[in-house]
C-alpha cells in the first residue's frame, strides 16, 4: 500500500480522540471560517425573515412597501445562497479532507475562495440595503439592479466554484496518496454528488449573471428575458439540489453519530445519489412550466426529472435512512412490536431530533408539495402564489437548515474543540424550530391555495385603482404564518445562543465523547464500525420502516390526486 505524496505538499494532522480520524489542521481552520460565515448570514437572513413575516401578517403590516421588497431580496440571497453555500463549503472540506484522513489540496486557494465569497456576499447585502437592487434574489431581466449587485453574486459564485474544485482535487489526491482504501464513505459520496451538482449550478450562474452584469453596465444592449429565466434557474434550482444531496449526506452522518446506524445496502443508497447526479438538474424546468415559450414535451420531460428517476432517488433514501436507524436499534435488542425502536430512540439527543424532524418535514411536506406543484398542469394553480414559498420553506428551511443546525452541535466539540454549552437549549431547539416552521409552512400553503400571491406587500389592495377582495380566510392563514415564523425565529435564536456561547466561552478542550447528552457516548465506534456491511437477518429487518414508507406513499397519492381535482375546477384553458 504505497503512499505517494506529491512533492512540496506538507500538511499537519492531529488525531481526533473520539472518531480516530486524522484531521488536517488547515482543513479544520477553513471549516471553522466557513461555518462562522454561514451562521452570520443565517442570523442576518433570520432577522429579515422576522421583519417579512410581520409584514405579510396583514394585521401587523410592519414594513413599508419599499423596505418590504428590499428586505425580501436580502432574505432570499442570504438564505438561499449565502448561509447555505458557506455551510456546504464547510461540509465539502469536512467530507473530503476529514472523512478521508487526507490533506486539503490548495489551502491558500481555499482562503482566496473564502475571501471572494465573503466580499461577494457583503457587496450584495450592501447594494440591497442601499436600495440599489430591489429586484428579488431572482433579479429577472429586464428588472435592473446596480452593477455591483451582479458583481457581488459573481464573486460569490467564483469563490464557491474554487471551493468545489478543491473538493474534487482533495478527493482525487487522497485516492492517489492511498489515504483511504476501496470506495469513499457514503457521506463523502453524497457530498461528491452535491459538488457535481454545484459545478453545473455555478457555471450556469455565470451564464446568467455575467450577461446581466454587462447589460447593467450598458455594455450589452439587451438580455432576452426567456434566456435569463432558463439559465438563471439552471443556477437557482440545482443550487437547492446541492442542499438536498448535502442534507441527505448529513442525515446519514447524524444517523451514524446518534444511533450507530450503517447503510443497509451501499449499492442502493449510492444508486439513489447517482440518480440525483444524472437527472436532478432537469427539474429546474418546474420554474418555467407556466411560462410562454417551451412546448409540452420539454416542460413535461424535464419537470419529471426523466420519468421521475431523481424522485425515485429520494424515495430510496426515504426508506434507507429510517431503515438503517431501525436496524441499528433492533441490533441493540429493541425488537418489540413494529415501533419500539422508534419509541425508545434518543429523542433528547439534539442530532437525532434534528434528523427526524428534518426528514419528516422535508419528505412529507417539502417533497410531496414539490412533485405536485411541479406537475406541468397543476403548476398553473400554484405558480407565484404563496404555495411556492410554502414548498421551499419545507425543503430548504425545515429540511436542510434544520439538519445543518443539528450537525453544527457536533462540529462544536469535534472541530471547534469547545464544549457544547446550554445543552438544554440545544435539546429543545430542533423541536421549537421544527414546530415554528411547520406552522409557517401551513400558513403559506393555505394562503397560496386561496390565491394569495408571493412577493406581494398588500393583499387588501388598499389604494389600488380597482377593488379586489381576496378570501377572508387568508387573514387567518397569514396570521398562522406569522405566528409560526415568530416561533421559528425563537428556534433560530436558540440555535445562535448555543453556538455563540459554546464557541466564544470556555477553554479549548478535546472532545471526550461523540454524542452530546445521551447515555451512549460513541455509537460510531461502539456500533457502526463493527457492524459495517453485516447481514440484515429476519429478526432485525426494518418492519416499522415499511409501514412508515407505505403510509407516506398513501399520503402522497392523496395530496397529488386532490390537486388534480382542484385543477379540474379551474376555467378551461389550452
Amino acid at each position: 500500500m504505497a503512499v505517494t505524496t506529491f512533492p512540496a505538499a506538507r500538511a499537519t494532522f492531529r488525531t481526533c480522540p473520539v472518531t480516530t480520524l486524522k484531521v488536517d489542521i488547515a482543513a479544520e481552520r477553513l471549516i471553522i471560517a466557513n461555518a462562522v460565515a454561514a451562521v452570520v448570514f443565517l442570523a442576518l437572513g433570520g432577522l429579515f425573515a422576522l421583519l417579512l413575516a410581520l409584514t405579510r401578517w396583514q394585521a401587523i403590516h410592519l414594513l413599508p412597501a419599499d423596505w418590504f421588497y428590499r428586505v425580501l431580496t436580502g432574505h432570499g440571497f442570504d438564505m438561499l445562497v449565502a448561509w447555505i453555500v458557506f455551510f456546504e463549503v464547510a461540509g465539502l472540506y469536512f467530507g473530503s479532507a476529514i472523512l478521508l484522513n487526507a490533506r486539503l489540496v490548495g489551502p491558500r486557494l481555499a482562503w482566496l475562495a473564502y475571501a471572494l465569497m465573503v466580499v461577494g456576499a457583503v457587496l450584495v447585502n450592501v447594494m440591497v440595503l442601499m436600495g440599489q437592487a430591489d429586484v428579488m434574489f431572482t433579479a429577472y431581466v429586464p428588472l435592473k439592479a446596480h452593477p455591483l449587485f451582479y458583481l457581488g453574486v459573481i464573486l460569490f459564485a467564483v469563490g464557491a466554484l474554487i471551493a468545489v474544485l478543491l473538493f474534487f482535487a482533495t478527493v482525487w489526491v487522497a485516492g492517489r496518496e492511498g489515504r483511504y482504501q476501496g470506495s469513499m464513505p457514503l457521506v463523502t459520496f453524497g457530498l461528491m454528488v452535491a459538488a457535481i451538482i454545484a459545478f453545473y449550478t455555478l457555471v450556469s450562474g455565470a451564464l446568467a449573471f455575467v450577461p446581466a452584469f454587462l447589460w447593467s453596465l450598458g455594455l450589452l444592449p439587451y438580455v432576452d428575458p426567456g434566456y435569463f429565466r432558463n439559465v438563471f434557474w439552471s443556477f437557482g434550482h440545482p443550487a437547492q439540489q446541492i442542499n438536498l444531496a448535502a442534507m441527505v449526506a448529513v442525515w446519514y452522518a447524524l444517523a451514524t453519530i446518534t444511533v450507530g446506524a450503517t447503510p443497509l445496502n451501499e449499492k442502493l443508497s449510492r444508486l439513489a445519489f447517482v440518480l440525483y447526479a444524472l437527472f436532478i438538474n432537469l427539474g429546474s424546468a418546474h420554474h418555467l412550466l407556466s411560462d410562454p415559450g417551451p412546448g409540452f414535451a420539454w416542460k413535461m420531460g424535464n419537470t419529471s426529472y426523466a420519468m421521475y428517476l431523481a424522485v425515485l432517488g429520494s424515495l430510496i433514501h426515504a426508506f434507507s435512512i429510517p431503515g438503517a436507524i431501525e436496524v441499528a436499534q433492533r441490533r441493540r435488542g429493541l425488537t418489540k412490536g413494529a415501533f419500539e425502536w422508534l419509541r425508545k430512540a434518543p429523542w433528547h439527543e439534539p442530532g437525532f431530533a434534528a434528523l427526524v424532524l428534518s426528514m419528516i418535514l422535508f419528505g412529507w411536506i417539502g417533497g410531496v408539495t414539490g412533485v405536485v406543484i411541479g406537475t406541468e398542469q397543476i403548476n398553473m394553480l400554484a405558480h407565484n402564489t404563496l404555495r411556492l414559498p410554502g414548498h421551499f420553506h419545507a425543503t430548504v428551511v425545515a429540511g436542510t437548515t434544520l439538519a445543518f443546525m443539528g450537525l453544527t452541535y457536533y462540529l462544536i466539540p469535534l472541530i471547534f474543540r469547545k464544549e457544547l454549552k446550554l445543552k438544554k437549549l440545544a435539546q429543545w431547539q430542533p423541536y421549537v424550530f421544527g414546530v415554528g416552521m411547520f406552522l409557517t409552512i401551513l400558513g403559506m400553503i393555505g394562503s397560496g391555495l386561496l390565491g394569495i400571491p408571493r412577493r406581494h406587500w398588500d393583499i387588501t389592495f388598499t389604494n389600488a385603482p380597482l377593488q379586489v377582495t381576496l378570501p377572508g380566510a387568508a387573514q387567518i392563514t397569514l396570521a398562522v404564518m406569522g405566528i409560526g415564523a415568530l416561533i421559528a425565529v425563537v428556534g433560530g435564536i436558540l440555535y445562535l445562543a448555543v453556538v455563540l456561547v459554546s464557541v466564544f466561552t470556555g477553554p479549548r478542550v478535546e472532545a471526550s465523547r461523540l454524542t452530546l447528552v445521551m447515555d451512549r457516548r460513541n455509537p460510531l465506534v461502539e456500533q457502526a464500525i463493527p457492524n459495517m456491511g453485516k447481514e440484515v437477518t429476519e429478526k432485525i429487518a426494518p418492519r416499522g420502516t415499511v409501514i412508515l414508507t407505505f403510509a407516506f406513499l398513501v399520503f402522497f397519492m392523496a395530496y397529488y390526486l386532490t390537486n388534480w381535482w382542484l385543477l379540474g375546477r379551474m376555467w378551461w384553458i389550452r
Binding site: L100, Y180, G182, L278
Partner: protein
C-alpha cells in the same frame, strides 16, 4: 475512518462493474453536465429561439 482491508487470503477481490461505475465520479460529473446541458438548457433555449413572429399588425 478507513482501516486497510486485510483479508486472510490477500486475494484481490473482483470488483463488480457496477461498483466501479458508481466510484467513477468524473464520469458521473460529465454525464450530469451532458444530460442537463442538452435536455434542459440546449433544448429549452432552442425552443425559445425558434418561436414564430407574432401575427399582430
Amino acid at each position: 475512518m478507513s482501516e486497510p482491508q486485510v483479508s486472510a487470503h490477500e486475494e484481490p477481490q473482483e470488483i463488480p462493474r457496477g461498483q466501479k461505475l458508481f466510484d467513477n465520479w468524473i464520469l458521473l460529473l460529465l454525464l450530469s453536465l451532458a444530460i442537463s446541458g442538452v435536455f434542459y438548457n440546449a433544448w429549452g433555449l432552442i425552443e425559445l429561439f425558434t418561436l414564430p413572429p407574432s401575427p399582430i399588425r
